[in-house]
Amino acid sequence: MPISKAFTLAASTALLAVTMSAASAQDVVRIGTEGAYPPFNVIESDGSLTGFDIDIANALCDEMEVECEFVTSDWDGIIPALQAGRFDAIIASMSITEERKEQVDFTEKYYNTPPAIAVPKDSDLTEATPEALAGIALGAQSSTTHSNYAEEKFADADLRLYPTPDEYKLDVASGRIDAVIDDVIVLSEWLESEDGACCKILDTLPIDPVINGEGAGIAVRKGEDELREKFNAAIQAIRENGTYQEINDKYFDVDVYGS
């Protein structure tokens, strides 16, 4: 390749890169999610992201007329990653709690579902009361509202904390733990699948507003009011134009928005 030609190519590539980054500065919103929380967000075997959260995020981005780019992160580190600027918003079924509000700002909720407890089908447990669960091995995902719920309400249970739901599912199926606590939708979805044949829902638990918060919202960095308001308006819009209902019905038989 002659030098002049190579130079032109390099220069045009550089120019292209510059114009592209200038465009992306305003129009691309990077969305952080976990990818291990079916049916809300899950990484498929081909590496693509699917789930209720992802569809909602795409609908919101269409509404806001921006391009969305998904970034996955470990659940434990998802808030610090937002603060460090790895992405601009978290859409990962994150409950709006007081603890988290000290670190990030939330939009209004986009769904709200109660926690539940699942047990193996041959379990002797008949009710989900603190007395009944005393001394049993109860699994939960760590750093979630559900693990906090278990710590508060079932203090006498032997609480086991797992990095993602995948691991507690394995352990309750093998009988290593006696029960698990998580979102009712997450548990139901798993129980309907082949892997969940071992187990059943024991009971749905009442939402505790202090622990569970006000439902799942979208987290943005503190002070990013413009982005937050845009998301709020978009949530409102997809609720009204039926897009939300469509996505809801694609995944669930019930209305997950809550009252």
Binding site: Q83, R160, E167, L170, S174, R176
Partner: protein, 276 residues
């Protein structure tokens, strides 16, 4: 007064040469300065963000985590030492199948990551529950603590077996032959001649292995055993204060520093005959 001192008059030592500021010296000093500044900064940060409320809330969790870490490492290293004995003997055995078996064990456990071993033993065995039940092993493997101890013991035993074998084989053959010539029995030769010399060689690698074990144990929270690192992550996920990790680092440093000092004392004792 000795003869030499009477014959040769003592001379004053030469005056110290002024040392020039070479490039190397400059780099060394500025790097040192950087380290000092970083430590002072870290210290000031810790003092500035000192929060009695957090210590009251998470302090007990840290201590319980620390205790779990210590228990796990101490028990794994101790039981591993026992397991490593037959493995090391097997490695040195002239019997091919036995030495091959011992080598395969060492090879597998040294060649794969500890975290993979932990996952395989905990979740892998969990899916063979019925078989384990039939063998009456499930009650043991059901408990995450047992699985952690089992994995760490097997892992450290593989390393310790190699340390032990290397140390024993580093003792010259002449020592065996000399003892045999003096009519000393093989067991006494091993215990009083070979082993003390081997221990001198093995001491430092043993110390390194324990230190690696202390740090390696930080992964155990993935199977729900909440050690020091697990409690740290839990505290971090509730406070989002990276100070929590600094405290964990300080705890690990203290453990390692204590071990280092114990090892210095042990080495002094074992090599006291080499002192001049």
């Amino acid at each position: 007064m000795s003869v030499a001192e009477r014959l040769i008059a003592p001379k004053a030592p030469p005056a110290p040469q002024p040392q020039a500021w070479t490039g190397q010296k400059l780099v060394g000093h500025s790097l040192m300065g950087l380290w000092v500044a970083a430590s002072v900064g870290l210290f000031l940060f810790l003092v500035g963000s000192f929060d009695i409320e957090k210590i009251r809330t998470y302090g007990p969790d840290y201590l319980s985590g620390l205790w779990i870490t210590l228990q796990l490492v101490i028990m794994a290293v101790a039981i591993g030492a026992l397991v490593s004995l037959p493995v090391a003997i097997g490695r040195m055995s002239a019997n091919k199948p036995i030495s091959w078996l011992a080598y395969a064990y060492v090879y597998a456990f040294r060649g794969t990551p500890l975290i993979a071993q932990l996952f395989l033993i905990y979740y892998g065995l969990g899916s063979f529950r019925d078989t384990l039940d039939a063998l009456h092993l499930w009650t043991f493997f059901r408990d995450p603590w047992n699985c952690a101890l089992f994995t760490f013991t097997l892992n450290t035993a593989a390393y310790q077996a190699e340390i032990l074998r290397g140390a024993i084989q580093s003792v010259p053959r002449g020592q065996h032959e000399g003892a045999a010539a003096l009519g000393i029995s093989r067991w006494i030769t091993f215990r009083k001649i070979v082993l003390p010399q081997a221990m001198m060689v093995a001491l430092r690698p043993y110390g390194n292995e324990i230190i690696l074990m202390v740090k390696g144990s930080a992964i155990v929270a993935i199977i729900t055993v909440f050690d020091l690192m697990g409690e740290t992550r839990r505290a971090y996920s509730r406070t989002f204060d990276f100070q929590t990790y600094i405290w964990a680092a300080i705890f690990y440093l203290i453990i390692v520093e204590a071990l280092r000092n114990v090892w210095a004392v042990l080495e002094n004792r074992l090599t006291r005959h080499l002192k001049r």
